[in-house]
């Protein structure tokens, strides 16, 4: 008795332990599986966070530069390791100041200065090219190099050197250069300087080393406020009238555009990273981004591509990041706003403080610095995903090199200064387009097959057909994709007309079997099981396919002048890609047919037999019963089957990866390739650095896929459960 109760006690304990383990384990598994969505979404959240500017220590720097010099003496920079701040001083030196303490570490005289005085200076954002404009019409050109010195793993110091790039006589009349701009590009050098209120002296060296000069003037009533050189020697001049002049350098500078940027004088003007578009601010606080775009086939014009949020006070200085397209604008009230070019987004802002004479972003874009009199203020800059905003993801930003706002996905460019383009719209579009064509192909076939199998086929035969179609569901998508990409695409390309002919021919000739069937003696057909028709249909279909392929070339010469692809190009302006949506539609349709088939077949066969029996008893034919009784009753099931098929097609990766050209284009042509969300993830995520913008954007794509399929499947599932309840009730 005692032993038995002990045993029962032990069993009870085991039972209770099992309850605990299974409950915890079960809930754990469910939570873990659902946690996937949470994780995927969580990874995308940092994309939408604003940038952070946190004040660091400030120091006092020994410099003679004042607010009055802000526009003329612009050469103020920082080395990659944020150890030294360098300035070009009026007394003819490049001074290096320790960032940590503010003391002057080294002073290097400007080479070849002679008796001249520094009247202006400039610095490039990338490459640290410095120019000093001199009082005798010359410009001294230099480059600052910093070389890190390591002790073990730790950075010890940075050694700085100034390379002498020679001096050039910009103005032959030897007037002082009151503003200077200097750019070096692939061995070519460009120097522009302001020599009078309305005159710019422009000097450039050709690739062969020859020197050339030009004098450029603006309307004499205008006063030039800013001179800036961009890519390939393009030159900008801002004026007191609010217009910006643009010259492109062909053999000589040609004035191409005078852009009415603002009603008030220009207060800041800067080329953006890469020198393909520029930014201008007016006295009225407006800030706009401009670029040259094709307005029609062979004409280009300067257009306002970006309008930024107005700043409270006029912008006096602009600092560019040398890594991406963020920039900081400093207002006359001392407020600083960090913005982004493509997304036009305000990333962060600093409240009004002292009036800054210079603003700069460190070369690694990890610090923002202001110089205010002699006070150097530093702000840690955390700006991991500046290029992402609602507009860049789903809207139409205007990118450099495009004739207008566009939806573009191009995550990496040929060079670093190409704008990354993260529009998910072409990918979502591609996903929906591919899915749509697949559904157009699969739905009629699968539903017809399911209806036929469930209503007109003998159960014994049905027991063989169902598993065959189900095996189709098991075919790995990589195999289907490979066949579609390497075999089907080539076949369809060669027999395009034949494939299109099959669309009407197959059902037509398949159906014609009904006539043949009647010719057969009743003594045969009467004895056969229901569904044996399929044995006649299949050879008929093969015949139809053969007819299509045989007459295809003839039809092609007759209707399309011999080559349908050329005809399409000429008459409809449709290009034919070998791997196109027709191929994807067939291949992906093939992949979803079994899903739709199985679920619809279940829905059809579980229509209570009392209903069909009643219908048949009232004298309806088997087709009438099928269409008017079975189909309406099972329609929610069909709907949910189609939804589930849709969900599967939306997420299909390998087939679209292999059977489309993966080109993110947006048009509805069935003969174009697409790039879908899923294929895009598969293509790009192996190259995306962990935690980077591309990485997180791809997570966003995954989250969109997840949510899309989850919603579709949930709706389908709920409908299916309702339907089951209904069948139970009948």
């Amino acid at each position: 008795m005692a032993a038995a109760s002990k045993r029962i006690g032990r069993l009870r304990r085991i039972d209770r332990a099992a309850v605990l383990v299974i409950t915890l384990g079960g809930i754990g598994v469910v939570v873990a599986v659902l946690g996937i969505l949470a994780f995927v979404v969580g990874e995308t959240i940092p994309l939408f966070r604003a940038a952070a500017l946190t004040p660091r220590a400030s120091t006092t720097v020994q410099t003679a530069l004042t607010q009055a010099d802000a526009e003329a003496l612009r050469a103020i920079g920082l080395d990659e390791y944020r150890k030294y701040l360098f300035t070009i001083e009026r007394d003819g030196v490049v001074a290096f100041h320790r960032v940590e303490t503010g003391e002057r570490a080294t002073v290097m005289p400007i080479p070849g200065l002679g008796s001249a005085v520094v009247t202006s200076s400039s610095r490039t954002v990338t490459g640290h090219h410095l120019a000093a404009g001199l009082s005798d019409g010359r410009a001294a050109l230099m480059q600052v190099r910093s070389i890190p010195q390591y002790e073990g793993q730790a950075l010890k110091d940075v050694s700085i050197e100034v390379l002498d790039n020679g001096s050039v006589q910009v103005d032959q009349a030897n007037r002082p250069l009151t503003q200077v701009s200097y750019v070096e590009q692939e061995g070519q050098r460009f120097v522009a300087a302001l020599v009078a209120d309305d005159e710019i002296a422009y000097w450039w060296s050709s690739a062969e080393g020859g020197e050339q000069r030009a004098a450029l003037k603006v309307q004499s009533s205008h006063r030039i406020t800013h001179v800036r050189i961009g890519r390939n020697g393009a030159l900008l001049a801002g004026t007191s009238a609010g217009a910006v002049y643009h010259w492109s350098l062909e053999t000589t500078p040609e004035l191409t555009d005078v852009s009415p940027v603002s009603a008030a004088p220009i207060t800041a003007l800067e080329w953006m990273l890469g020198g393909n578009s520029w930014l201008a601010a007016g006295e009225d606080g407006t800030i706009s981004g401009w670029l040259r775009a094709s307005i029609d086939d062979d004409r280009q014009a300067m257009v306002r591509a970006h309008t930024f949020e107005r700043q409270a006070a006029p912008v006096t200085a602009v600092a560019l990041s040398g890594r991406e397209r963020s920039f900081a604008t400093a207002g006359r009230d001392g407020a600083i706003v960090l913005r982004h070019q493509t997304s036009e987004r305000v990333l962060a802002a600093l409240p009004p403080a002292g009036l800054a004479s210079a603003v700069m972003i460190s070369p690694k874009s990890d610090e923002l610095l202001t110089l205010e009199g002699g006070v150097l203020r530093r702000y840690a800059l955390h700006n991991p995903h500046p290029e992402i905003s609602w507009t860049t993801l789903f809207g139409k930003p205007w990118y450099e090199g495009y004739p207008g706002p566009a939806y573009v996905w191009q995550s990496t460019g040929a060079t670093d200064d190409v704008e990354p383009k993260f529009s998910l719209v072409p990918l979502v579009f591609g996903t929906l387009k591919g899915t749509l064509y697949a559904m157009l192909f699969a739905t009629p076939l699968a539903v017809a097959a399911a209806l036929y199998t469930s209503q007109f086929v003998d159960p014994l035969l049905r027991a063989k057909i169902k598993p065959t179609v189900e095996i189709m569901a098991a075919l790995p998508s990589v195999v289907i994709g490979f066949l579609a990409g390497l075999y089907l695409a080539a076949v369809v390309e060669r027999n395009l007309v034949a494939v299109l002919l099959m669309v009407p021919l197959l059902p037509l000739i398949g159906t014609s079997g009904v006539g043949l069937w009647r010719v057969l003696p009743k003594t045969w057909t009467g004895r056969l099981k229901a569904g044996t028709e399929i044995a006649l249909i299949v050879p008929l279909l093969i015949l139809a396919g053969w007819i299509a392929v045989t007459i295809g070339p003839g039809v092609e010469s007759w209707l399309f002048g011999g080559d349908a692809r050329i005809w399409l190009k000429d008459h409809w302006d449709l290009t034919y890609d070998q791997r196109n949506c027709l191929v994807v539609g067939i291949a992906m349709g093939f992949a979803v047919i079994p899903i739709i088939f199985t679920i619809s077949e279940d829905a059809f066969s579980s229509v209570p037999s009392s209903l069909t029996a009643a219908s048949l008893a009232l004298g309806a034919s088997r087709w009438q019963t099928a269409v008017h009784v079975v189909l309406p009753t099972a329609s929610p099931g069909i709907f949910s089957a189609v939804m589930i098929g849709f969900g599967r097609a939306v997420g299909e990766t390998m087939i679209v990866l292999m059977a489309t050209g993966n080109t993110p284009v947006m048009d509805w042509s069935i003969f174009n390739g697409i790039r879908t969300l899923s294929a895009n993830i598969a293509v790009e995520i192996p190259e995306a650095p962990n935690g980077g913008t591309l990485y997180r954007t791809l997570f966003l794509a995954a989250a969109i896929l997840f949510v899309m399929t989850f919603i579709i499947n949930t709706i389908a599932e709920i409908i299916r459960q309702r339907l089951r309840q209904r069948y139970k009730a009948i």
Partner: protein, 544 residues
């Protein structure tokens, strides 16, 4: 006829056509893959053709088509044949299309040899002589062909010896050297933390070991060089169709046969030997030749790991949902959610696997347990463990759904009988419910395995690579290397078919791999269907 139409008979036939098209597509696709995949191993005849311009070509005829010339009257009137000519090192291309109009004559030369060699694809030509060092062993095609068999057999033995030396012995030395390097690094790290004393003594020992290993390495390397030199002494001189002579070391020759002298039995033998190489060999020539054994191994191991990970948890969750949880709105919602997870795109799971397993979990493991090999990641990069875990997550919903259905199908009466006999709930589950539901659960597991075996997208980003020299299972401690990258049949298809430089030559390989993958997946599915049908029958009888 008219009454027929009114009664909707044609519409029935139309619906039947839908089914017909589906069946035709399945049959056509499977047939296409089987013919292309299995035909690839069959040794064809070598045809010598002479063209009008006097060019002589020798090769296998691989295809024939009508020449499309859109817009001209000759459109699709003339034909051309595709020939596999081999000799890529001489001509630069394997395949060539030849207009049939240009052909003057066709012959089947009896002494034409098909030679499979180490690089540049096959060589097709006639044998001239066989020499060993300076000495000529045989000359003239008949004599050479007669003398070849033992030579090729020896080449195979030599290759096996070299491979053994390289992989087993040199591999072991390499492995131990790497271990010593890591040990040294570990000691350095410890020294940095201030434990210099033990580090110094350890270092001396490691240095001594490394020196011994280096010596061993040099000795083995010498042996290897000697073996290779000995093997390449025997040279076979062949003549291509255009008269160019080519000398091949016999050690580089994997297989050769006089294609036009083979009897049916010989052909079958070549077929078998090629098939065996395909199944058991390592890939060559950037995966376009040789075998796919590592991919088979990787696929099987990944599926096993995945099953081990997914099944217990899936069954646990199903037990909870069906046997323990209070049925109500919450459980219904969870059930729908789990059901839908089976429909979430696999690439999403891949992204999750990459972000969570590889970067977060793997990164943490690396920092904690493998600081000595950083910055080279050990677990912080794709590997078979992460791929299996990802697929495990992907298939858990499938297992849960199947297991739940199987549990629900167990008649209530059985449970009640057990409980009435005094068993606890747990006893009932273990001894009555689970055994009864086992076939159903098994069906789900098999289906999950089939799905796992066919998935590629999530694997591509969590650990599959085109070529993994080391299997995740080998003779070095700890024998199972879960952090290693691996090869996979599905990815192999994608990679060889779409990323290889010579797609035309690689196609047969892709078809053959597809056949294998198809066989695995279809076999698993058929098993599941059979199990399911048996199960149904059993419940039908037990209902009485």
């Amino acid at each position: 006829m008219r009454s027929n139409a009114r009664r909707g008979e044609p519409a029935i036939w139309l619906a039947g056509s839908g089914l017909g098209i589906c069946l035709l597509m399945i049959g056509g696709m499977i047939g296409l893959i089987l013919i292309n995949g299995l035909g690839f191993f069959w040794p064809g005849e070598l045809v010598q053709i002479t063209l009008k311009d006097g060019t002589v070509l020798l090769g296998e005829v691989t295809g024939r088509e009508q020449i499309p010339q859109p817009g001209t009257p000759q459109h699709l009137e003339r034909s051309r044949i595709q020939m596999k000519l081999g000799n890529r090192d001489l001509t630069g291309t394997d395949f060539r299309w030849i207009d049939e109009d240009a052909i003057v004559s066709r012959q089947l030369p009896g002494d034409a040899l098909y030679v499979e060699r180490r690089e540049y694809g096959p060589f097709i030509g006639r044998p001239l002589r066989l020499s060993e060092g300076e000495r000529e062993v045989a000359s003239g095609s008949a004599a050479v062909i007669a003398a070849l068999d033992p030579v090729i057999e020896r080449a195979e033995r030599d290759r096996a010896a070299i491979r053994g030396l390289e992989r087993d012995q040199l591999g072991a030395v390499n492995y131990r050297m790497e271990q010593a390097r890591l040990e040294q690094r570990r000691l350095d790290l410890r020294a940095q933390r201030g434990d210099a004393g033990s580090a110094a003594t350890g270092s001396a020992e490691i240095e001594r070991q490394t020196a011994v290993l280096k010596e061993e390495y040099a000795r083995l390397e010498q042996q290897l060089v000697a073996l290779a030199a000995e093997g390449s002494r025997t040279q076979l001189t062949l003549q291509a169709a255009d008269g160019t002579e080519k000398q091949l070391s016999t050690i580089d020759i994997f297989r050769l046969y006089p294609a036009n002298q083979l009897s049916m039995l010989d052909r079958a033998r070549v077929y078998g030997s090629r098939l065996w190489e395909f199944l058991s060999g390592d890939p060559r020539e950037s995966n376009t030749e040789g075998g796919i054994f590592p991919a088979i191994f990787g696929t099987v191991m990944m599926v096993m790991l995945m099953t081990i990970l997914a099944v217990p948890f899936g069954v646990l969750a199903a037990l909870y949902l069906r046997e323990y949880a209070r049925q109500g709105f919450f459980v219904r919602a969870v059930r729908i959610a789990v059901n839908n997870l089976a429909g979430v795109p696999s690439i999403v799971f891949g992204v999750f696997g990459l972000g969570f397993f590889v970067y977060i979990v793997g990164g943490a493991i690396d920092r904690t347990f493998y600081p000595e090999s950083l910055p080279t990641p050990t677990f912080g990069t794709g590997g078979i463990l992460w791929a299996s875990l990802t697929l495990g997550l992907l298939t858990v919903p499938v297992v849960i759904v199947a297991a739940e259905e199987a549990l629900a199908a167990v008649p209530r009466s059985m449970r009640e009988a057990s409980l009435a006999a005094g068993a606890t709930t747990f006893q009932t589950i273990m001894r009555v419910v689970l055994p009864a539901a086992a076939p159903g659960i098994l069906t789900g597991v098999i289906l999950a395995m089939a799905r796992g075996a066919g998935e590629v997208a999530p694997l591509m980003i969590t650990g599959v690579v085109k070529l993994a020299p080391d299997l995740p299972l080998d003779g070095f401690f700890p024998f199972v290397h879960l952090e290693r990258k691996f090869m996979h049949l599905g990815f192999h298809i994608y990679d060889v078919g779409f990323q290889s430089p010579n797609v035309e030559a690689a196609k047969p390989m892709v078809y053959a791999t597809s056949v294998l993958l198809l066989l695995i997946v279809v076999a698993l599915n058929l098993t599941a269907i059979v199990v399911r049908n048996r199960l149904r029958r059993r419940y039908q009888t037990s209902a009485f």
